[in-house]
């Protein structure tokens, strides 16, 4: 099995977490699993980076937390987007789109 895991582009982890939480509130492990699935195994986030990012986002007021029971009855902290978080996600997505387009243009220029 070839390891195709790649490092997450600097500074995009926050955006990816926000995107993940845009669908529904989730606990830490859920976020990690979702990111891995959606990237088809390309990104694997370890707990260290994840929780640092979660604390940062929370302190910026982009996400909020709540203790809830999981499907199998375990207590876990669920994170959800705040209104501000949603706005930030929109603006970051747009910015990202612009940057990717620009980078692509540069790379494809002959």
């Amino acid at each position: 099995m070839t390891d195709k895991r790649s490092a997450i582009v600097q500074g995009t982890l926050d955006m990816l977490i926000l995107k993940t939480l845009a669908l529904e509130p989730m606990h830490g492990y859920g976020i990690a699993v979702r990111l891995e699935q959606k990237s088809q195994g390309a990104f694997r986030i370890n707990a260290g980076s994840l929780f640092v990012a979660l604390q940062r986002l929370q302190r910026e007021g982009l996400i909020k937390d709540e203790w809830k029971a999981t499907e199998n009855g375990r207590r876990a902290k669920y994170y959800a987007l705040t209104h501000q978080g949603r706005k930030r996600l929109d603006s970051e997505t747009r910015e990202w789109g612009r940057q990717v387009a620009a980078i692509t243009r540069i790379l494809e220029a002959s």
Partner: protein, 910 residues
């Protein structure tokens, strides 16, 4: 909003650290559990899954640490932990900490005290609104009355007509105010007072308070309409006078006081902080309008220049342009008032100009007078602080070595050197801040002592010893800087230690390096100390020379009584002879008084009158300084103890109507009669027409009346009442000299009573012993010398303590070695020599380095020194010997302990 949230979350985790950490724990545990279950679902056994997760995710502790470290509160917490650790470790060695804090307290306190003074004198602005808009017309402090052109062409003193001209023609000033360049001694009597009391007063223009922009505490301040000959006389009282003598009674406003014989209604009281235009001891108690000046000719005459001018520029005006314009106006005015300048100075007129200088600090009298003293003191106290720092660094190093194994363990367990250094620096800063806080108390007491020393004889000094914001900031920064200065060396040494060496149990691993640093610090201390000691020696010797010099009079058993002006007490010229006669008759009858005399002023009280003279039969010579003169009564010279050289003294014969005579001093005789006997020659004041006025009948020895350092001024003495026919008496008595048998201090009540018996309107300004009056001339010198002595002593003690500490430390460290040496046959003398040699070497190097610096310091002080060579060998040797012997004594104690070492026990030591 997010910022606030960040702050709140951080605070939450700081304050409820444990709960936050528990939450994170639980969250992480869940995370790991879920990951493990996931792995188990794909077929791993539980132990396999746990292991895989841990490999993937890393340790939960590290994750926690990462999360934790990413918040801002971790930095705060780390510092807080360092502080708590520091406090704990300092409390474990209370003596050590106390010695360090005490040393720092003295160092920081001394510096803060001197900064408090410097701040008040050199930096703080006048307590008025927008002081930066204030400008003064003139750049020096020449006083008090002058005619014609001024020193170097720079106008400083102005006549009243010139002031009015400049005020009315310079529209760039919002207000241009004038005030007398000197304070007046007033005698003031309230409606219910039985006798007049002496106060200080200043004559000011009507717009003076408007110019400063200050508000009254009660009543109102002067206005231009009060400053006219026809307006009712009103005065403004200072807040301090109102508080001290009138108990803040608001009914003072509107009441009428008798001030120098004129009724003045008190218009109001100034703001509490206001002390006038000049920072000085005993500032004005009353401000009176210029129009109230008793000598009305001063207001009309364009000849007499006696006012200082200070104005507030309008906003946005360029002072350079105003300065140029003022000079043009001055030239115009002088052009239309040629008669103001004596003909001999006419070619000086084009050079006359006005320098506009910043006056945010008012007239910079004290700033000029004390700048050198303050700079010397600042240097001395900085030296002391450096010595204290070296000493403390040394103590810290010694302890650092004792804590080597602890340091080593921490390093071995993975503590970073950065954390170690920050821990040790925190400890140093803690000590420094403790020293700084305690230093503030020392500074407060010290500043009060400094003020008393610096202004001996003053009743009130408008400088507060209480630390201001600037002083607090200074003390804080100084403490931090100090902490870093003395903390760097120990921290650096510790961070360089090698854990492996230390753990191997070799207690001597660091000794070499750290004791070299310690010894270097001793060398530094010794060299700084010798500089301080030599400086103290030079300044003390100089002060002693000044105070002990031959003044040309005798201060022992003499009293000087000063009166306020006789005009103010209602005297006219016709009444003077009777008053003088009664005083001369009554005063010697006071029990304990041997003889009494009267004069216009007394030696070294800060007064000087001078006048050009013409000598009969010689061409007039107005070059050089005009000789000084005063009027004296019979027995004057005997009473103050000035000896007669030839001829006779002024006595009872010399009454009005008798032949007019003068006594001159030796300097006068040498200057005007270099090759002749002056007795029998005639001279007079001012021009040739008066050259026959006085016959010289005696020559007295030189006595210093004005300048304590230079030679006596050429001086002539005239009888009290002899004047040229048809002229008024210039110079009324204001001083009484008494030669007494008893202790001078005990006589004051008797003297006051005798004077009030003669006339209750006479106001005694002060009664001081002649010795005290002379001593007050040396306030600055005494201040500097006393402080240099104290600092020198402290430096000596600190150097000895340092040397003692280091020697004791070295002896402990070398116990082993000494034991071996003794076992191998070294006797006690050898051991003693071994230890002392090292101490002697440090002292020797310190002296070798310090003496050249001390010599340079002596040169720097040369202008302060009186009859002391800046390289005075006796002082140098004395200082070096004192330092060396004290240091050796300090080293001898531990050295002797070394000789008592029992070789057997020493070998087992460690």
């Amino acid at each position: 909003m997010p910022r606030l949230r960040k702050l709140l979350d951080g605070l939450r985790s700081l304050l409820w650290g444990q709960r936050v950490s528990r939450e994170l724990d639980e969250e992480l545990k869940t995370f790991m559990e879920m990951a493990t279950e996931e792995k188990m679902r794909s077929g791993m056994t539980r132990p396999e899954a746990v292991r895989a997760v841990r490999l993937e995710q890393g340790s939960a502790e590290v994750t926690k640490e990462n999360v934790y470290a990413s918040g801002w509160e971790s930095g705060v917490e780390r510092i807080w932990r360092d502080i708590r650790f520091g406090v704990r470790s300092l409390r474990k060695s209370p003596v050590f900490s106390a010695v360090i804090v005490l040393t720092l307290t003295l160092g920081i306190g001394a510096n803060t005290a001197i900064f408090t003074l410097m701040n008040a004198v050199m930096l703080e602005s006048l307590p008025v609104s927008n002081p930066t808009q204030l400008y003064r017309l003139g750049d020096n402090n020449n006083c008090c009355s002058m005619t014609g052109t001024q020193d170097g062409g720079s106008f400083v003193l102005y006549s009243h007509p010139l002031y009015e001209y400049l005020r009315d023609h310079t529209s760039e000033f919002e207000q241009l105010a004038a005030f007398a360049s000197y304070l007046e001694d007033l005698s003031v009597r309230g409606p219910h007072d039985s006798a007049s009391q002496p106060y200080k007063g200043e004559f000011v223009s009507g717009n003076y308070f408007q110019m400063f922009g200050i508000q009254p505490s009660v009543g109102r301040l002067l206005t231009p309409s009060d400053d006219s000959a026809t307006a009712p006389r009103v005065a403004v009282m200072s807040y301090r006078t109102w508080q001290k003598f009138y108990a803040l009674d608001p009914s003072v406003v509107g009441s009428t006081l008798d001030i120098d014989g004129t009724g003045y209604t008190i218009a109001g009281v100034t703001t509490p902080q206001f002390y006038g235009d000049t920072l000085r001891s005993d500032p004005p108690d009353f401000w009176l309008p210029l129009a109230g000046e008793p000598e009305q000719w001063r207001l009309q005459s364009a000849n007499v220049e006696w006012l200082y001018l200070l104005g507030r520029l309008k906003g946005g005006i360029n002072p350079d342009a105003v300065q140029a314009r003022l000079t043009v106006e001055l030239q115009q005015w002088l052009g239309s008032h040629r008669d103001v300048i004596p003909q001999r100075d006419w070619d000086e007129i084009p050079r006359q100009h006005i320098r506009l200088t910043r006056a945010a600090r008012g007239v910079e009298q004290m700033q000029t007078d004390y700048s050198l003293a303050l700079r010397v003191l600042a240097t001395l106290s900085t030296l002391l602080l450096l010595i204290a720092c070296a000493n403390v660094a040394n103590l810290m190093l010694g302890r650092g070595s004792d804590h080597q194994s602890q340091t080593a363990v921490r390093l071995a367990l993975g503590g970073t050197r950065g954390r170690l250094v920050s821990q040790l620096l925190t400890e140093s800063l803690l000590l420094a801040v403790a020293g700084g806080v305690a230093g503030l108390y020392v500074a407060y007491a010290g500043t009060r002592a400094l003020l008393l020393l610096a202004f001996r004889g003053a009743h009130f000094i408008p400088i507060s010893a209480r630390p201001s914001v600037a002083v607090l900031v200074f003390a804080m920064l100084l403490s931090l800087a100090t902490g870093i200065v003395f903390g760097i060396a120990p921290a650096w040494m510790a961070s360089r230690s090698n854990p492996a060496d230390a753990l191997r149990g070799s207690g001597r691993a660091l000794t070499g390096r750290s004791s070299t640093v310690q010894k270097s610090l001793i060398v530094v201390q010794v060299s700084l100390s010798i500089v301080l000691l030599v400086g103290a020696g030079l300044l003390t010797r100089s002060l002693r020379n000044l105070e002990g010099q031959q003044f040309g009079f005798v201060t022992d058993g003499r009293l000087i009584v000063s009166l306020t002006s006789l005009q103010a007490a209602g005297y006219t010229e016709e009444k003077l002879p009777a008053l003088y006669e009664r005083l001369e008759e009554r005063l010697p009858q006071i029990p304990g008084v041997l003889s009494a005399s009267l004069s216009t002023y007394s030696p070294l009280e800060g007064n000087n009158w001078s006048e050009y003279i013409s000598i009969q039969g010689k061409p007039p010579d107005f070059s050089g300084t005009a000789p000084s003169w005063l009027r004296v009564g019979p027995h004057y010279f005997q009473t103050i103890g000035t000896r007669l050289l030839q001829g006779r003294l002024i006595d009872e014969r010399d009454r009005p109507g008798a032949p007019q005579v003068a006594v001159v001093n030796d300097a006068f005789a040498r200057r005007f009669f270099p090759k002749e006997n002056p007795i029998g020659h005639y001279f007079g004041m001012t021009d040739i027409g008066h050259s026959g006025d006085y016959e010289i009948v005696g020559v007295v020895e030189d006595a210093k009346y004005q300048d304590t350092r230079g030679p006596a001024y050429p001086t002539f003495f005239l009888p009290l009442l002899q004047v040229h026919a048809g002229e008024p008496v210039r110079g009324w008595v204001s001083t009484i000299e008494l030669h007494v048998a008893a202790r001078p201090e005990n006589l004051e009540p008797g003297i006051r009573q005798a004077i009030s018996e003669i006339d209750p309107n006479l106001t005694v300004l002060r009664v001081v012993s002649f010795r005290e009056q002379v001593a007050r001339n040396f306030n600055q010198e005494r201040l500097i010398a006393r402080l240099a002595e104290v600092f020198g002593m402290l430096a000596l003690i600190l150097a000895c303590v340092g040397l003692y500490g280091v020697t004791a430390y070295v002896v402990t460290r070398r116990t082993n070695e000494i034991g071996i040496r003794m076992a191998l046959g070294a006797d006690r003398r050898k051991v003693l020599g071994l230890v002392l040699r090292s101490a002697l070497l440090q002292v020797g190097i310190g002296l070798a380095l310090g003496i050249p610096v001390a010599l340079a310091t002596g040169l720097g002080l040369a202008s302060q020194l009186y009859r002391v060579k800046s390289y005075d060998p006796a002082i140098l040797i004395l200082a070096a010997v004192t330092l060396a012997s004290c240091a050796l004594l300090a080293a001898f104690v531990p050295a002797r302990r070394a000789t008592k070492i029992d070789p057997l026990r020493a070998l087992r030591y460690e």
